[in-house]
């Protein structure tokens, strides 16, 4: 492992995109109840389904992201988490009714219906967003003694992002915009984050360097 500024991305870049991912996770989660209410109602169990699925998906994401971070952590893979999370969020916007209708028809009990619908709509993008956390830690960690500090910093910014996403969505966005427009906003934010990562990686030279050095 190299010392000094060998980190593939500048710290402010990693911190800002971690904020964006935290923000988007909670924006989608807050909207989840609203998206599902027309089919499964507004009962406490619908919230229970959503939160359960988000927690499980994040847990799996942490595990996978940590695993992936062991092999040549680089900006390209990091950006691909954002791009794929954005892409896998699209079905929530485009096919929510097509997903929920058959589940509503097949499952009489709204608790399991909402659980199933949550799994189908939210588990993949949330897992992908969960992968970002451990991976971003790895991108910034340059020595063992700094690892806890970097992890602390990144948990801090991404959780602040989550708080901001929760508040912004529930207090303001739903008052100003339609649900799908807010979701498009989250997708756009994730794609912009990916673009920033690629640009910063390219400028630091880590992008081409890393990829080519390992391909030879």
């Amino acid at each position: 492992m190299k010392g000094g500024s060998s980190s593939p991305l500048p710290r402010p870049v990693v911190a800002s995109v971690a904020f964006v991912s935290g923000f988007c996770i909670m924006t989608v989660e807050m909207l989840g109840a609203r998206i599902m209410a027309p089919y499964f109602g507004g009962s406490v169990s619908v919230w229970g389904s959503i939160i359960t699925v988000f927690m499980l998906a994040l847990a799996v994401g942490y595990l996978l992201g940590g695993r992936l971070s062991m092999r040549n952590p680089n900006a390209l893979v990091f950006a691909s988490f954002y791009v794929s999370a954005a892409l896998f969020s699209l079905p929530i916007i485009l096919f929510a009714d097509a997903i929920m209708r058959p589940i509503f028809l097949a499952v009489e009990d709204a608790r399991y219906g909402s659980l199933l619908a949550s799994i189908v709509m939210f588990s993949v993008p949330t897992t992908l967003l969960g992968m970002i956390s451990p991976y971003s830690v790895r991108l910034l960690v340059e020595s063992q003694e700094h690892s806890g500090q970097m992890a602390g910093l990144l948990f801090f910014v991404s959780t602040i992002g989550s708080a901001a996403g929760t508040l912004g969505t529930s207090f303001y966005f739903v008052l100003w915009f339609e649900v799908n427009r807010i979701l498009w906003g989250a997708v756009t934010a994730l794609l912009i984050a990916a673009a920033i990562i690629l640009l910063a990686g390219y400028m630091r030279g880590s992008l081409s360097l890393r990829v080519s050095s390992h391909e030879t």
Binding site: R34, A37, P38, Y39, F40, G41, G42, S43, V44, F104, L105, A110, F171, V174, L175, F177, E178, V179, N180
Partner: protein
């Protein structure tokens, strides 16, 4: 802020004697007895809202203006054979329907099982061969009714307790579903909001789905009742005639039906430029102040 709210809660005067109190998943439920009058109160700490009261000496008599107003739909549909009531409360609306129309099939949908048991235990609410309570979300129940092709002659929406508004029951899509389970001669009666920006949004949404509706308000009640049906509304003269025919049978419940037609208006008194509430846009709880 939190502390001052807490102190306020402690200081809130509670008239009468509290005979039952429980915290359900959805609200705090208090039952209070004051002489012969027994009241169901949701979220007492927030300012003592009576949800339903009954007079134990004359349990048929409807104590609240808005509860009585809920029967104005009979002016359009005088003999419903199937009735859906969304929101149980103390159960006085379905009990009155059951008393008035013993042969009618009555479905009651209530999301909170605690409310159902409190209504049974303290408010003389009883299911019968023709009256069934379904513990479910009204939206889900109605969506299933659409699928199964069940229809009703009288649909009463009374699911707004004033504390937290179920936003998915305010939308155009929901009202479209309600429309699908309403019989051609049936009537929809909705107990809704009379104040705040929500009044405008809700009016615009009802207008979009039903074209026109009677806006029914009384000075004795803070509620606004929307009454409508699929197709054109009858002229007021017809309502007056119906009121005269039905008035006598309503006396037992203290429903002053004869006063109602004059109070039912189709005049637009809301801001028509407000956005229609949809499943995509329904911030009801943010629009209430």
């Amino acid at each position: 802020m939190v502390i001052s709210l807490f102190l306020l809660a402690l200081a809130a005067p509670v008239a009468g004697e509290v005979i039952h109190q429980e915290r359900s998943l959805y609200r705090d439920i208090t039952v209070e007895q004051n002489g012969p009058r027994r009241c169901l109160i949701f979220n007492v700490h927030r300012g003592d809202r009576n949800q339903t009261c009954i007079d134990l000496n004359e349990p048929e008599r409807l104590v609240f203006s808005y509860t009585r107003m809920s029967f104005a739909g009979l002016l359009l549909t005088p003999e419903p054979e199937s009735i859906l009531v969304a929101g149980l409360g103390g159960g006085s609306i379905p009990m009155t329907f059951g008393d008035l129309f013993p042969d009618a099939l009555i479905d009651v949908v209530e999301i909170d099982p605690a409310v159902v048991s409190v209504a049974r235990e303290f408010f003389l609410f009883e299911e019968s061969a023709n009256m069934h309570v379904h513990v479910n979300d009204a939206r889900v129940f109605i969506k299933r009714a659409v699928l199964e092709g069940r229809k009703y002659d009288y649909i009463m929406l009374d699911a707004f307790t004033g504390d937290y508004i179920p936003e998915h029951l305010l939308t155009r899509e929901f009202l479209d579903e309600v429309k699908q389970i309403l019989n051609p001669d049936g009537v929809l009666v909705a107990n809704t909001f009379s104040t705040s920006r929500l009044y405008d949004h809700e009016s615009v949404t009802y207008q979009r789905v039903w074209n026109e509706f009677y806006n029914f308000k009384l000075p004795t009640s803070g509620n606004r009742i929307i009454i409508t049906r699929d197709g054109a509304l009858p002229p007021r003269g017809e309502l007056v005639g119906a009121a005269q025919r039905l008035a006598e049978s309503m006396e037992k419940y203290s429903i002053p039906l004869l006063e109602y037609p004059a109070r039912m208006s189709t005049r637009v008194d809301w801001d028509m430029s407000r956005r229609v509430l949809t499943d995509q846009y329904s911030p009801g709880n943010l629009l209430r102040d």
